[in-house]
């Protein structure tokens, strides 16, 4: 038990926090009736994955990944730049997905006058 405590909570607490956030996002995506809330859940989910990358870029005692003449070329002096760069791309992708989703929601609202999933399903069943 103590061992599990050390490995999970003392040494990987940041990872556990991202897992909690992933679960919150997943819950919102699956359980919420309002489609905008689903979308917010999706954003939380993607944000959590971004954090999953970023927390592992952290190195104890390192500085930001901007080259500095004082620090020189020592790898242990800078944080890992790769997750930062990748997640810049992932953030943009997430923004773009949100944009498309909002366009779809606008279209749905214009056509059906609601964004509640249950009501939409009812309307789907009623109309041919």
């Amino acid at each position: 038990m103590n061992d599990i405590f050390t490995t999970l909570i003392a040494e990987r607490w940041a990872y556990l926090l991202t897992v909690v956030m992933i679960i919150i996002g997943l819950h919102a995506m699956m359980m919420k009736r309002n489609l905008v809330k689903k979308l917010i859940g999706m954003n939380i989910f993607q944000g959590a994955i971004i954090l999953l990358f970023i927390v592992h870029a952290y190195k104890f005692g390192a500085s930001v990944p901007v080259h500095d003449a004082v620090l020189g070329d020592h790898p242990e002096a800078y944080m890992n730049p790769i997750p930062h760069g990748l997640m810049l791309t992932a953030i943009v992708v997430s923004v773009a997905t949100t944009g498309v989703a909002l366009a779809l929601l606008t279209l749905i609202y214009r056509r059906f006058g609601t964004i509640d999933e249950i009501e939409l399903l009812q309307k789907l069943r009623e109309e041919p």
Partner: protein, 513 residues
């Protein structure tokens, strides 16, 4: 220090010239096309369609050049910006990648020929962005196929997904709802894939597929490695509509416009299947995970369940497109069966089925689109007697339907043949029986439809107006695909011996080649 060090770094990492530019040339026409078509098209509308066709044609031409170059000279590697992997991104094209890229680009070209008139009739207002979006979709898909980098694959995954979501939202009034569900599911799938990449990166420190494969082969089993594999299978399974994650698919295919369905249905799920093959067999140690740890068995049995669920649901449908959508669920599941069995013959069957199913499904969806456009018929009962009125269209349909069932001279027979051979090699007799039985189920719904199309003569009162073959430009792709189904069947030996035997992963070889 810095100057000397810098120069040395340049010499070290700038790969020598003389790499073949073919892989990037497959992507460039699509990239330039997808910005130029909206850019010029919104200004001069009539340029949009010719530009689209030129972009698709150039891309297909280079894809075939790439395929033949790979078959002659072995895998091509193209380092972007000349940073050797794992520092930079490389396009790594082996026989499998070149094969799938060629298949995808030729199908897309044929659908684009059809789209010229179809989009003008279905969605005249949206014509220009629609063509742009088709190019974006194909750009994403070819990018996924050709890349050799895990994260780059994710980026193009999202390019193609966004294209897919928005194309799916065009069409029936209800299309945006199903497209939104598809968006939630697809983003969930892509995010799971990204998590899988994340775990792999945290364990290996690299994003290049070949490099990652080399590192994890020496690593042994690790909880995070196992979870990354599960995440990728779940994420790609969601996009591929593998049972039980197929629930988004039928609505999405049914309500989308016929051109959207015709370009998305044949290739999008296939590319996810291709990526799954790429990951499971070329990045992970396939023997360890699929055979020793029995993940292959899970995939295999879920997939065969999907074959039956899809086929049985298809039998119960009354709407033509929805029936084809459920049959897509079943057919994609065959690819899953091939992946899960993880032996050379079954894998060849799965790869062959990627091509074969793309050809037959695009033909079928083009026919339903033409029928809906010419007569307005969408329900199966409205198809009665159409075979005599639209002979050319339904000639193509008949060939494709025979291929779906798996009758011998058509290509559908041969992919199932290899799956069955693979099952026999594994001694999986129940699986062999189930595959054969599932063909009968497919036969039930297609022969029922064919019988209705050809033999019933309708009464005068239900004679639909305008029931004749569509124009030549819409008919040509249908006929080419219908003939292609036969030709691909007759020349399947060439594909297997020349292409797919080179496409197998390390440690696998076809007996007899």
């Amino acid at each position: 220090m810095s100057g000397a060090h810098g120069a040395e770094a340049v010499v070290d990492h700038a790969v020598s010239m003389g790499q073949s530019h073919l892989p990037i040339l497959v992507i460039l026409p699509l990239l330039l096309g997808c910005v130029l078509v909206p850019g010029l098209g919104l200004w001069r509308r009539r340029w949009a369609y010719p530009l689209t066709l030129v972009a698709f044609a150039l891309s297909a031409y280079f894809a075939f050049r790439t395929l033949f170059a790979v078959l002659e000279g072995g895998p091509l590697h193209y380092t972007l910006a000349s940073w050797a992997p794992p520092v930079g991104i490389e396009l790594a094209v082996d026989a499998l990648g070149a094969f799938v890229a060629a298949v995808v680009s030729i199908i897309a070209l044929l659908v684009a020929v059809y789209a010229g008139e179809a989009v003008r009739r279905e969605n005249p207002v949206r014509e220009v962005p629609f063509f742009g979006m088709m190019l974006v979709l194909l750009l994403g898909l070819t990018g996924m196929v050709l890349t050799g980098d895990l994260f780059n694959l994710y980026v193009f995954f999202e390019v193609s997904s966004l294209g897919g979501y928005s194309l799916m939202a065009i069409g029936h009034k209800k299309a945006p709802i199903s497209a939104f569900r598809y968006l939630i599911m697809g983003t969930l799938g892509a995010s799971f894939y990204l998590m899988g990449v994340g775990y792999l990166y945290l364990l290996t420190g690299s994003l290049n597929m070949a490099d990652v494969a080399g590192i994890i082969s020496t690593m042994g089993l690790n909880p995070a490695l196992l979870v990354s594999l599960v995440m990728m299978v779940v994420g790609l399974g969601l996009k591929m509509a593998l049972f039980p994650m197929h629930l988004w698919l039928p609505d999405a295919y049914t309500y989308a416009s016929s051109t959207s369905t015709a370009i998305i249905a044949p290739i999008m799920t296939k590319i996810s299947a291709y990526v799954m093959i790429r990951m499971l067999f070329f990045v992970y140690d396939w023997d360890l995970f699929l055979n020793v740890h029995h993940i292959g068995d899970i995939i295999k049995w879920l997939a065969i369940a999907g074959v039956f669920v899809g086929s049985i649901m298809a039998i119960g449908q009354k709407d033509a497109k929805r029936m084809l959508a459920y049959s897509s669920v079943a057919q994609v599941a065959y690819i899953g069966v091939g992946i899960g069995m993880a032996n050379p013959l079954a894998l060849v069957g799965a790869m062959l089925h990627i091509m074969n199913h793309a050809a037959m499904k695009s033909c079928l969806f083009l026919v339903t689109g033409s029928v809906a456009m010419q007569t307005g018929a969408q329900r199966l009962k409205d198809y009665a007697g159409l075979g005599r009125r639209m002979p050319w269209t339904f000639a193509g349909f008949t060939f494709a339907a025979m291929a779906m069932v798996g009758l011998p001279p058509t290509n559908g027979f041969f992919s199932k043949w290899y799956l069955v051979l693979g099952g026999i090699e594994d001694g999986e007799w129940p699986m062999v029986g189930l595959i054969l039985a599932s063909s009968l189920l497919t036969a039930v719904y297609f022969f029922r439809l064919l019988e209705r199309v050809y033999s019933k003569v309708p009464g005068e009162e239900q004679k639909p107006a305008g029931a004749e073959d569509p124009s030549f430009r819409m008919r040509l792709p249908i006929l080419l695909l219908g003939v292609g189904v036969l030709v691909l069947g007759l020349f399947n030996a060439w594909f297997v011996s020349r292409v797919l035997s080179q496409a197998l992963p390390h440690g696998m070889s076809l007996p007899g080649f």
